[in-house]
């Protein structure tokens, strides 16, 4: 049943969001701390586990794959509802701060990726 996979996906998201909210409350932060990331870890664990086979194989699995494939269309809709006009109204300061932050962060990707590779080879 397709809906079994969709229900598993929903369950993971709800559980992750609850934990994220609780983490936020525990840390006294007005934000969901990693809820989506935690939900993704649940789904990874479920899809790698034998116990959840009936919820992730065949038709049930295609219920999850459908939403995974709807990801790009949803992102396009998300882009279309951004406050782009607001971003440009912020003026020069906002643009300079945004551009500078992105440029420096881009430059750090290869440097930190090297740390990842090093620790991975050490483990092996």
């Amino acid at each position: 049943m397709i809906v079994y996979g969709v229900a598993l996906l929903s369950g993971c998201l709800i559980l992750g969001m609850i934990i994220g909210e609780a983490l936020g409350a525990a840390l006294n932060v007005d934000a969901n701390v990693g809820g989506v990331g935690i939900a993704m870890i649940f789904l990874v664990l479920a899809s790698n586990s034998e116990k959840f086979r009936s919820l992730t194989q065949d038709a049930a699995g295609s219920g999850i794959k459908f939403w995974s494939a709807m990801y790009i269309p949803i992102v396009v809709a998300m882009a279309a509802r951004q406050d782009v006009a607001g971003a440009t109204e912020g003026g020069l300061l906002a643009i300079v701060a945004g551009v500078a932050a992105v440029t420096v962060s881009f430059a750090l990707v290869p440097i930190l990726s090297k740390i990842g590779k090093k620790s991975a080879t050490e483990e092996n």
Partner: protein, 252 residues
């Protein structure tokens, strides 16, 4: 005309599916014919979305791009946080546990490095533009983290409304730039494997920017980048009004 409007408004989510579908079809056609596949169709679709959002915002004066047009209200639901998170989690289906373990440490380091680096850069720009009070510098620095961390920090430490608005704008610029820039720089920063995607998500942090940027680069990398990115805003909200504000206050 009234009949059409009623149908569109009543079925707004269905209208959104159709509009987005046509947009993506046109984008892939353009990618194929104009750029010979050099620019990914989804990158063009996202850029078209952003352009439409700009004109939507200018025409309606609203804050949610084209979704402020009554006829396209469904775009707001389709592209809203709930659907975005649902689809992002779905992309984790089929991810291998071993890949996550490999990038674990670098992923965590990148989240903290990303928040602190963006904050320092944003705060430095604020100082260059002549701000001298700690609350304003901290808030603008936090805006360069993400457009959620900016206002959360600003409200917590009592920054002015103007400064909070600036911080949101800085975060929006960052998010949009990551969406557009990622596919263009991917080759040069080695963004072609799960490990670097997790580092990338942790460094950039803006969930929308990372999600769209990676989708336009290589959809297979999306779950890895999104997983670390979703922790970033939380870490930012944690550090902004506390450690980072204290540090700035100590200097100013």
């Amino acid at each position: 005309m009234d009949i059409i409007e009623t149908v569109f408004v009543r079925n707004n989510l269905v209208v959104a599916f159709a509009v987005v579908g046509v947009t993506i079809w046109i984008s892939y056609l353009l990618a194929d014919k104009l750029t010979a596949g050099r620019i990914h169709g989804s990158a063009i679709a996202i850029a078209l979305g952003l352009i439409a959002a700009y004109f939507g915002g200018v025409a309606t004066g609203g804050r949610t791009g084209v979704a402020d047009f009554a006829l396209l209200g469904g775009i707001g639901l389709m592209g809203g946080g709930m659907m975005r998170d649902f689809a992002i989690v779905a992309t984790a289906f089929g991810v291998q546990l071993s890949e996550l373990r490999k990038a674990g440490l670098a992923g965590i380091i990148s989240i903290f490095a990303g928040v602190i680096v963006s904050f320092v850069v944003g705060a430095a720009v604020a100082i260059l533009f002549g701000y001298t009070d700690a609350a304003a510098i901290t808030t603008i620095g936090s805006g360069a983290v993400t457009y959620i961390v900016g206002p959360v920090t600003g409200e917590a430490i009592g920054a002015s409304d103007t400064v909070i608005t600036l911080s949101v704008a800085a975060g929006l610029v960052k998010s949009i730039l990551v969406m557009i820039g990622t596919p263009l720089v991917a080759k040069y920063i080695g963004l072609n494997n799960p490990q670097s995607a997790m580092v990338f998500g942790g460094l950039m942090g803006t969930t929308s920017g990372v999600a769209a940027g990676l989708a336009a680069t290589d959809p297979k990398l999306v779950p890895y980048g999104a997983m670390t990115a979703t922790f970033y805003t939380g870490v930012g909200c944690l550090l902004g009004p506390s450690v980072l504000f204290f540090l700035v206050s100590a200097i100013y």
